[in-house]
């Protein structure tokens, strides 16, 4: 449209110009003519007036055509091309410019299109590479997470400030606060992403180990490891090994290489924790055993020896003296026997050879053996009377191999078609039976089976059945129940106790734990200039309390605290705090309706002065978030005096933030906000449930606030404060 106007304007201007030029020319010529010439000219013109008029009439059309052509070719075409290029550059890389205009312009168009092609190819390539790289990275992260969660060792990775970036389930279990038997308070894990390791292990020990590692690094040792022994809060003795995480050196950057070569920068450290309580206990039991055996025996032996030597040296002694010495010898010999028996029973664990045995549920061992026998030998297997509760200490590989070996000989030499397994408890031992029916096989045969090396389908094992059984501190024998034609091998092995093996049960059934967050590597210290930090990168504790009523100054008390940690934009469902509190006062029926906590649920729970220190530790170094935080904070502040515990960290209130985001809406109740933001509300009106919902709400609010230009903690607090005053004034 504008082009058309432009064109019309240009055309009009050309007409006016030409008409003007002709008029001026005609005027000048006319003025120069003499009167007679003018007459003549008039006559000449007059005679040709038709031709001139016709020419004058067609001239504009001709010019219009010409100018139109030129305009299209040299003005319109380039500007359309420019628009098309703009389109390719900014909006649609798939678009290609249409060839138009002059030959030169068409050439330009072709080149532009070629350029667009190669640019697009390049872009696609880069995108593909990025996708691939991030897929690899994700896969690697998952592999690492899976590996870590399966590791039998406890692993904790920290950045140089001691903040935990990664931990595995074992570490979580090892570093758990002990159950407070008196108060019945729940166990609470001390590890958490973004938390300080110094809250768990002695800072000085870690710093010392770090210095040690650093020293050795600078001296050119590329893989220094420091170790120390310390105790966990639960009183377990642990050996800690520390390996440094050294900043990656970019290849081909000489200044980096040089720097790394002189003093590699430690960006963090890996701690491998090993519970050595039992090892140490075993060691000291062995010591005690040695002592009992040596010193206890020495005295008695001395008494016997002295008495015997008296009798030998002085054969002339009277009958009475003689009897006295005999009596002494008898008494001391009896004492020795008793002591020896007691020692053997008491120290049975410490006496046996230390073959690495694992704790395994007997039923699981049998199931594994069944699978193996069915697959490898094609025999039928069944179970009879398997005690599911029995745990054994076994080397499962060699034991299953032994069972399979027995079954294979039964099949090959006696045509046995089916074997059955039984497992029963017999005091300190478990009886594991392999049962079959058929003709008796005789004890000599079974003896030879036990001593020959096990041969399984051509795979000879260096071990004999006897070796395997000995390794398990067990015994194996063959028995027969003649009337029922029932025969069995019975393996007697010591049972172990489930509480010792409880740690083999995974903490959670989830395959992908939330136990790592490498983004924390880039996180600076939490404290300085918190207000300058982006909301999306802070660590928060979202919490909620349930109370006996609304007014702490009138004696209302907290009866429940629930909290969850929020790190790098993730709600960490494993890192929660949940504790009922004995308010030391009665509950009103009205409040029970709201929180649903019955008075008997609170009986025996710890009081607030026990709970607050633990909660304070849980919140350490984080920003607090609560819905209607002022309410909860008032309850906490009322306890500052009596408990001496102050919550000084910054606090954000989702109620106020909601008012910042939706100033014109009046509903800022938690349910209403959650619904507005599309969050499923489950488990509400428990402190932890509400804390979780509040956390989700806050996560959704971060981008909404960013859209309003509120990005840092400082900005959020300021905005919240403004609405707060606005609401008060209102």
């Amino acid at each position: 449209m504008r082009d058309k106007l432009k064109f019309a304007a240009v055309l009009a201007a050309v007409y006016v110009l030409i008409a003007g030029i002709i008029a001026v020319l005609a005027g000048l010529v006319w003025a120069d003519l003499k009167p007679e010439e003018r007459l003549l000219a008039a006559q000449v013109l007059d005679e040709r007036v038709g031709g001139i008029v016709v020419f004058g009439f067609f001239l504009p059309f001709f010019l219009g055509f010409l100018i139109n052509h030129l305009f299209r070719r040299y003005i319109s075409a380039p500007s359309q091309l420019a628009e098309e290029i703009q389109l390719i550059v900014s909006a649609n890389p798939d678009h290609r410019a249409t060839p138009r205009g002059s030959a030169e312009l068409r050439k330009v168009v072709r080149l532009v299109n070629e350029l667009a092609d190669s640019r697009q190819a390049l872009q696609r390539d880069v995108e593909a590479r990025i996708r691939e790289a991030s897929r690899d990275l994700e896969a690697e992260k998952n592999r690492l997470a899976a590996l870590m969660s399966e590791l039998a060792q406890s692993v904790v990775v920290c950045n140089i400030e001691g903040r935990i970036l990664l931990y595995n389930a074992r570490a979580r279990q090892l570093l758990t606060q002990p159950v407070d038997k008196q108060s019945g308070a729940a166990t609470r894990s001390l590890v958490g992403l973004g938390r300080s390791i110094f809250g768990i292990l002695d800072r000085n020990l870690i710093t010392h180990a770090l210095e040690n590692v650093h020293d050795r690094l600078t001296r050119g040792n590329m893989a220094p490891v420091a170790s120390f022994v310390t105790t966990t809060p639960a009183g377990q003795l642990i050996r800690v090994q520390m390996a440094p995480v050294v900043s990656a050196v970019e290849q081909g950057r000489p200044e980096d290489m040089a720097k790394a070569a002189s003093a590699p920068e430690i960006t963090g450290f890996v701690l491998i924790l090993e519970n050595i309580t039992r090892t140490i206990e075993m060691g000291s039991r062995r010591d005690a055993l040695m002592q009992t055996l040596t010193e206890g025996t020495r005295a008695s032996l001395a008494n016997i020896r002295a008495a015997v030597e008296m009798m030998l040296s002085f054969p002339d002694m009277d009958r009475e003296g003689h009897n006295r010495f005999i009596g002494i010898i008898g008494e001391e010999a009896a004492k020795l026997s008793t002591a020896l028996n007691r020692t053997v029973t008491e120290f049975a664990d410490s006496l046996k050879t230390q073959w690495p045995l694992e704790d395994m549920r007997g039923a699981d061992l049998i199931a594994a053996a069944q699978r193996r026998i069915e697959q490898k030998l094609g025999l039928q297997t069944k179970t009879e009377n398997v005690d599911e509760s029995l745990w054994l200490k076994v080397d499962s590989y060699s034991l299953i191999q032994a069972f399979t070996y027995l079954a294979s000989r039964l099949r090959d030499e006696f045509g046995v078609r089916e074997v059955r397994f039984g497992l029963e408890s017999a005091g300190r031992l478990a009886h594991l039976d392999i049962v079959w029916t058929g003709a008796p096989i005789g004890t000599e045969t079974t003896m030879s089976w036990q001593t020959e090396p096990m041969n399984l389908g051509g795979e000879a094992s260096p071990l004999s059945l006897k070796d395997v059984i000995e390794r398990h501190d067990g015994e194996l024998w063959y028995q027969i129940e003649k009337p029922r034609h029932r025969e069995y091998f019975r393996l007697a092995v010591p049972v172990t106790h489930p509480e010792e093996v409880a740690w083999t049960v995974p903490v959670t059934g989830e395959s992908r734990p939330e136990y790592y967050d490498f983004d924390l590597f880039h996180q600076a210290g939490q404290n300085p200039e918190l207000d300058q930090r982006l909301l999306s990168e802070l660590t928060y504790t979202v919490f909620d309390t349930e109370t006996t009523g609304l007014d702490p100054s009138e004696g209302d008390e907290i009866i429940s605290i629930g909290a969850v940690r929020l790190v790098n934009g993730r709600l960490l469902e494993h890192e929660v705090f949940e504790q009922l509190v004995d308010p030391r006062r009665s509950l009103s029926a009205q409040s029970i309706k709201i929180h649903g906590i019955q008075p008997e649920m609170l009986a025996g729970q710890p009081a607030i002065d026990q709970v607050l220190p633990a909660f304070h530790r849980f919140c350490e170094d984080t920003v607090l978030i609560a819905h209607n935080a002022a309410f909860d904070m008032r309850f906490l502040q009322m306890k500052e005096g009596p408990t001496g515990i102050r919550f000084t960290q910054p606090v954000l209130d989702t109620l106020l933030l909601s008012a910042v985001i939706h100033p014109h809406l009046n509903q800022h109740k938690l349910e209403a906000i959650a619904e507005r933001l599309g969050i499923n509300v489950i488990g509400r009106h428990t402190a932890l449930g509400d804390a979780m919902v509040t956390g989700e709400v806050f996560l959704k609010m971060i981008p909404l606030l960013a859209g309003m230009g509120i990005r840092t903690l400082g900005e959020a607090r300021e905005a919240a404060q403004k609405t707060f005053y606005a609401r008060i004034e209102y």
Partner: protein
């Protein structure tokens, strides 16, 4: 003049043998069943030599030995320590506290007799 030997041990079964052995070797023997008793006997009986067991209730042989050596009047009393503890550090401690000899249980009565004679300078 017959020499006097004090046996300080809480275990009657060794005391019987030691008492018999010493008497047969011609010494005047007295028995104490614990550390305090032993110190009392030292004061009253004034032995030439003590066979002193280390592990006794209330007051150990080490303590008794130390107390005896603290008293200038008792410097000449010879002390042989008897013990079921055979570690080298314990031997060292006994000697350091003033024992003349240290015998680990079980011992040969012949050798013990020889040692007693030697220490008493007979």
């Amino acid at each position: 003049m017959t020499k006097k030997v004090l046996i300080a041990d809480d275990e009657p079964n060794i005391v019987v043998s030691l008492e018999f052995l010493m008497e047969r070797n011609g010494y005047v023997v007295k028995v104490a069943n614990n550390g305090e008793d032993a110190l009392k006997c030292v004061a009253e009986f004034v032995p030439d030599l003590i066979l002193l067991d280390v592990m006794m209730p209330h007051m150990s042989g080490y303590d008794v030995c130390q107390k005896i050596r603290e008293n200038p009047a008792w410097q000449n009393i010879k002390i042989i320590m008897l013990t079921a503890k055979g570690r080298e550090v314990e031997v060292t401690k006994g000697i350091a506290l003033g024992a003349d000899a240290y015998v680990t249980k079980p011992f040969s009565t012949k050798e013990l007799t020889a040692k007693v004679r030697e220490i008493l300078g007979e």
